[in-house]
Amino acid sequence: MNEIKSQLNAKVGDTSERASRVQQQVNIKKIQQPLVKKGYLGYYATIVAFIGVLVLCINLIPSINDEVGQLTGPEPTETTPPPLEEVDTAVEKKGEYYGLLKQYFFPDETEAVFLGGFENGGVKTHTFWLSDDYVQQVVSNDGGTVERVYRLNGNQIELVYQEMIDGSERTQWSIEELNKLPMLEVLLKAPFEIGDEYGNWTVIETSGQVTTTYGSMSNVLVVENKTDDVRMRKYFVQGFGEVKWEATYLNEESGDYEVASNTDLVGIYSLSDEAANIDYDQTAMIMETVEFDTICFNGRLVVDMSLNVEFVNGCTTDTEKIQSVIKILDSLPIKVSSQEEDGQRVTAIQQTDNYQIYLGNSVSYEDLEYQITIYEDGIFQYQPKGMARLGNITSKPFVEQYNEVKRLLDEMAE
């Protein structure tokens, strides 16, 4: 036996008791879970196949009658088979309004950035033109990421795919796969007329006006979904696409609709050259170069069901510990939060674990420059020192500052 095996065996020790425990637990839990064995699968497959044959037979009956009719009728004329390229397509010939409809999507490989959205965390829409007839959009906000695929079919835009893809890459579709996607709903249908309905949405304006953070726009198509006391509106602009959506609720006292959430366009950037298109807010903070040599850590951990709390804290200049911090930060999504959410999380600290990492210039809490708070749900938010400097925390400079801090952590670890 080689030395590594010998030592690892010694380290691992006797596992017989653990193995018995594992087997015991498996035998208990397996009774509780549904069993789908191959034998049962075969049984169900047989039934499905039988039903399929039945359906096929039923469908064949009218065809058989037709054939009989044809036999007694006039000679069938020779028909030309359709060109091969049209056999598997789900797209009709481009409608006369194709040129108009395609303008209701952002250009290929662009990122549209929006303010507002889920918990005011902002929204990003990445657009990819998969072909002349298919557009893929990946929409992400603080609630998650969803992939949608639209088909330009005749004179309408159809939604054909919609799935959450949190943590995953967007789907790489083949045309064959896209053509097989069923229509889920109609997004828009030209020509647009007030009163046109697409499912629960009604066209209420075809040449309206809208103001967004990006700018004021005209010739706006507005669709509305109104149910009971909630009213939602989406605003579409040629050359852009969906530039704004809002949800309002009816205030019964005043009789007015009040805004519950509002999401509107900030800017559009090329995904291939995003850095060149950054458009900083005029009030953006300038990143100051900060040098530090210490990481301090402060944690409140709920240790049992009675909500007893254990405090763990300390400061270190140990590069190994710093490296382990970097590894963890790298895996977490940075979340730029609103001040409202920040306030909510501060209240939540009383009951949940949280970690605050301070970067300082001495082994103490005295000179703190940055505060990174990591929460139980794996989301962390980044704040520069002092709440007064938060400003518009959704603006890009704060994300840039986080990246700079990470770079400094990397340097420190080296």
Binding site: I4, L8, K11, V22, G299, L301, V312, V325
Partner: protein, 174 residues
């Protein structure tokens, strides 16, 4: 198939493979509690598809791969990362029942192996501990045999750096 026979076979599979998979899971995740949970999940999953396998020679590979995948999922999970973060900064040593068993004899080489990052640790585990061939390791980890060889070389080099005594001589002959 006779349900009693299938149940008997499943119990036999568990008897044959539990300890091996437990050791493997532990060497991956370095936590007995997590390792036990992972092996439980593997067998529960296998129970659902136990009729699928006829050839016992491929069963060990199948169970091994499933265990490795679940270990890697665990190591990516927030629950695990939070533990690492806490342990990195805690002033007090948090007592856990899952610490390495401390033996009287020096286990410097084993300690060094456990300190390796996963990419290198796993090839060492499969090559020296499981005594698999390079090709077998490549199959289990779904990487090329060249990648396995490269990682083994790098892992040995890292171990040499870490070890202070001459135990690294055991690696010289490889």
């Amino acid at each position: 198939m006779n349900h009693y026979l299938a149940e008997q076979e499943f119990q036999q599979v568990m008897q044959e493979h539990t300890e091996y998979l437990l050791r493997l899971a532990y060497l991956y995740v370095k936590d007995w509690s997590a390792g036990e949970d992972i092996v439980q999940d593997v067998f529960l999953k296998f129970y659902q598809v136990s009729n699928q396998f006829e050839e016992r020679s491929s069963l060990k590979t199948y169970l091994t791969r499933m265990t490795i995948n679940k270990c890697k999922d665990y190591l990516k999970s927030w629950h695990y990362r939070k533990q690492v973060l806490t342990n990195s900064f805690s002033n007090r040593t948090r007592k856990t029942p899952n610490r390495f068993i401390e033996q009287d004899e020096k286990l410097e080489l084993a300690d060094a192996v456990m300190q390796l990052s996963l990419k290198y640790r796993e090839v060492i585990i499969h090559y020296y501990f499981e005594e698999l061939s390079v090709l077998e390791i490549a199959q289990i980890l779904s990487i090329s045999d060249n990648t396995v060889k490269t990682r083994l070389r790098k892992a040995r080099a890292l171990l040499r750096e870490q070890l202070k005594h001459n135990q690294w001589e055991v690696l010289l002959s490889e």
